[in-house]
Symmetry: C2
Subunit: 210 residues, 2 copies
């Protein structure tokens, strides 16, 4: 049964859809037009059942003889996770991490592009880094409105995290990807993803020492 309401797809399924798509592009480049659930599963370290269940949830069906059609699946995933009109992203904080993300993303996703960088250090602003124009943070309001930016990636220093987040919220941003080590508390209508490098390294260290 097709699940028309993509809003209520499990969060983990959404994450995997993003990863399936990337692998599917690779598969297509190898001129392979169909793929079995166990092949995708092996590539992603999952069980074939989980792959089939994810595809069931988005209403993509395959054939027992040939598996799933790669192009069709790429298209469907795009219809689900991409926005039709495209979404624009800003980066706050142009240190090593900010620049790493900038150059990593540069031109990768059609529907999701980083279009502005911000920093409070004038040495780093009013110029173009990795193809992306960079501004002083006192231009947040102006640039966010003009470019219609809906998402910001926070890579600022911990001390500045709360304040900078607030500036972007006031400017109208709807989602924050928080790479500072400071947990943020945001209004309910703002979406938040947080990731903390220290935490994941400490967790791994805990697992390794056992």
């Amino acid at each position: 049964m097709t699940n028309k309401n993509h809003k209520d797809l499990p969060g983990k399924t959404i994450e995997r859809l993003s990863q399936y798509r990337r692998l599917l592009y690779n598969i297509l480049q190898q001129n392979k037009h169909n793929v079995y659930s166990h092949e995708l599963a092996a590539l992603m370290n999952l069980t074939p059942v989980q792959v089939r269940r994810d595809l069931m949830l988005i209403g993509h069906s395959g054939s027992q003889s040939k598996g799933y059609n790669v192009k069709g699946l790429i298209t469907l995933i795009g219809r689900i996770i991409d926005s039709e009109t495209g979404q624009k992203v800003a980066i706050a904080g142009l240190g090593n991490l900010g620049r790493a993300i900038m150059s990593y993303f540069s031109g990768k996703r059609e529907k999701l592009s980083i279009v502005a960088g911000f920093d409070n250090d004038t040495q780093k602003t009013e110029r173009i880094i990795a193809g992306i124009p960079c501004y002083h943070i006192n231009k947040i309001q102006e640039v966010i409105a003009k470019e219609n930016i809906s998402i910001v990636i926070l890579t600022v220093a911990p001390e500045a995290a709360h304040e900078v987040a607030r500036l972007f919220l006031d400017a109208g941003v709807k989602g924050i990807l928080n790479y500072t080590s400071v947990p943020l508390t945001l209004p309910d209508n703002i979406h938040l993803e947080e990731y903390d490098i220290v935490t994941s390294l400490e967790k791994l260290a805990f697992l390794v020492k056992e």
Copy 2:
């Protein structure tokens, strides 16, 4: 009841312990020696119950009048997640992301230190970056053994991910923190944490567009 067997603490609890500890250090710096579960919860965007349950699982008890003792809790968390002797970490890939992590970590954790960087570009190796000596990847075996490094952070290009991971496994590393966008398949006795920036940004974009 004290859970002596820290091995089977829930993974999510381990992650939160790392974050509690960081906040507790801040609290201590403000000369606050006790903290209530609702205070910690507010700082981390959790419910007080969840905080209390985590602390129950590690066997730390508080007082109804004063809450939890900050120093005692820091010490206990350290006993659980740190290794007594300390653990050493290498970074593979000295691009923007690798360097961001290096400078971020530099001297932050006593029991967990990044002691070597590796790259295949000789321009970036045989020198010291952010206080950390950097070597050509043909020295992996030698350096990992000499320094007794048990964890590697992978920030290499996607094409190189599998090959480089293998080199480190062969050299005896026990855990991999994978920041390449390539999912890795590893032997059961090797611990793995993966994080993919593109996936989290795409997930956030999906949530925002709804």
